[in-house]
C-alpha cells in the first residue's frame, strides 16, 4: 500500500477529482436551479422544456455524454474550450469538457431534488405571496426558493456524493483523476486488492464527511412547520 502512495501521485490525482467535483457542483447547482425554476414556472413552454431536459439527460449514461463531448463536440463539431495553439490544448479541453459534461448530467438530478424541495413549501404560501402583489420572480426569490433549498439539502447531498464518485467517468476522456491513475497503477503493478483498497479508501475519505455534513445541515436548516 505504501509503495503505491510513494511511487504514484495519488494525492495529485485525488486533487483533480476534487477540482472536477468542485466546479461541476457549482455548474450543476446553477444549471439545475434554472431548470427547476423552468419546471415550476407558470409558462407552459418552459415547463415542457425543463421536463424534456430532465427526462433526456437523466436517461443518457454519463459515459456517453463524456465521450460525446470530446469525440463529437470537440473533434467533429469543433467546439473547443481551450486555445487551439496552446501546448496543453488536449489536457485543458479534457478537464473543461469533463466539468461541462458532469454539470449537464447532474443538473437533471439537482433540478429534481430542488423540485422536491419546492413541494415541501405549502401551496398557501405561494398564493399568499402572489396575493400581496409579489411577481412570480419575487415570490420565488423571497418566499419559495429559500425554503425549497433548505428542504432539499438531504437529496442535494446525495447528488453531490454521486457527483464526486461520477468524476471517475472522466477517465474515459483521459482526465488525470483518481480512476485514470488507477488504470495506470493496474497496468504497471497488476491489479491487486491493495490498489482497489487505496482508491476506494480515497473516495470514502472524500464522501463520508460530505454525507455527515449534509445530514447535519439538513437537520439544522430544516424549516420547522
Amino acid at each position: 500500500m505504501g509503495d503505491i502512495l510513494s511511487k504514484y501521485d495519488v494525492l495529485g490525482a485525488f486533487g483533480m477529482t476534487i477540482y472536477l467535483a468542485f466546479f461541476a457542483a457549482i455548474g450543476s447547482l446553477v444549471l439545475g436551479t434554472v431548470v427547476a425554476i423552468m419546471r415550476v414556472s407558470p409558462v407552459k413552454v418552459l415547463q415542457i422544456l425543463g421536463a424534456w431536459y430532465v427526462n433526456i439527460i437523466r436517461n443518457i449514461p454519463l459515459t456517453l455524454i463524456m465521450v460525446f463531448s470530446i469525440l463529437g463536440a470537440l473533434y467533429i463539431l469543433g467546439i473547443s474550450l481551450a486555445d487551439r495553439q496552446s501546448p496543453t490544448f488536449i489536457v485543458d479541453n479534457g478537464v473543461r469538457w469533463a466539468i461541462v459534461a458532469l454539470s449537464i448530467y447532474h443538473a437533471a438530478f439537482v433540478c429534481e431534488a430542488l423540485r422536491s424541495g419546492v413541494n415541501t413549501v405549502p401551496l398557501g404560501q405561494a398564493e399568499a405571496a402572489r396575493s400581496i402583489g409579489l411577481t412570480f420572480g419575487q415570490s420565488l426569490r423571497h418566499v419559495i426558493l429559500p425554503q425549497a433549498f433548505r428542504g432539499s439539502i438531504a437529496p442535494l447531498g446525495s447528488t453531490l456524493i454521486a457527483l464526486i464518485k461520477n468524476t471517475t467517468v472522466a477517465a474515459v476522456i483521459g482526465v488525470g483523476e483518481a480512476a485514470g491513475l488507477m488504470s495506470k497503477v493496474i497496468e504497471n503493478e497488476t491489479g491487486s486488492i491493495q490498489v482497489f483498497l487505496v482508491f476506494a479508501l480515497g473516495f470514502v475519505i472524500l464522501t463520508l464527511p460530505v454525507g455527515m455534513l449534509f445530514t447535519t445541515l439538513s437537520r439544522r436548516l430544516a424549516v420547522k412547520r
Binding site: T63, V67, Y75, I76, A171, S183, E187, N188, T190, G191
Partner: protein, 276 residues
Amino acid sequence: MRLFRVSAAAALAVIALGLAACADDSSDGGSGGSAFKVGIKFDQPGLGLKEGSKYTGFDVDVAKYVAKELGHNEGDIQWVQAPSAQRETLLQSGQVDMIAATYSITDERKAKVSFAGPYFVAGQDLLVKADETEITGPEALTGKRLCSVTGSTSAQKVKDKYPGVQLQEFGTYSECVSALTSGGVDALTTDNTILAGYAAQDQYKGKLKVVGKTFSEERYGIGIKKGDTATCEKINTAIQKMIDDGSWQKAVDANLGPAGFKPDAAVNPPKPAPCT
C-alpha cells in the same frame, strides 16, 4: 402465526437449496471437466476478436495450435474474455488455463504468473492517416496530437519520452481510431500488432497506415499459472514447432498482413525463453 412459521421455514429451505445449487455449479465449473479454458481479447481486431460465435486473430491461432499440441481438441477449447486488468486474477484463481492476449512479459507480472514464449515480439508504433507525410517516426511528433488508452504502457511511455507531444487518452482504441479518422488527433500509438489489426479492418482499409518505426519491445508470452514449469516447457515446444513448420508465418500473414504489416524481422520469429 403458525402459517407464518411454516412459510418462513419453507422460504429458508428454498434459499438453502438455492445456495447449495450455486455451490454445486461453481465446483463443477472449477474442476473443469474436459474443457480447456483459454483467455483472449474479444475486442482486438487481428489479434483476438469475437465475431458472433467465431473467434479470429493471431492470438487465437497461436492458442489453437498450442492447445492442439497440448492434446486438446479444438472443440474442447472454451474462450474466455481476458481484459488487460484482469489477466493475473483470471490465472491465479484458475478461471482460465492459459492466456494469449497481447500479454507482454514484464518482471512485475512474472511475480504473479509464469510465461511461456515469447511467441511474438511487437513494438510500440504509430498509426496515421494513409496520406500523412510529416509523421515518419516518434521524433517527428513534437507539437502533434497523439491518442492512446488511459493509463496504458504506451501512453505512459509517450508522456515520459516525448514531453512535447500532446496526448489524448480514451477508454478504448476504437475511440482513438474515430478521433484519428475525424482529424481530431494526428496519430494513434500502441503495439504495432494492434495498430495493424485496426488498419486491416474493412472500414479502414486504405485509409490508415502503420508508420513502421518501433520504439519499444513488447514480448508477447502465453500466461500460465505461476510455477507450472512442465506446462511451460510443453507450450515452448509447441511454439517452436509452430514457427518451424510455417504455421506461425501463415498466421501472421492471414491476420496482420492485409494492411501491409510486416513484423520486425530482426527479432521475429522469436526464440522461446527457457522456463523458470
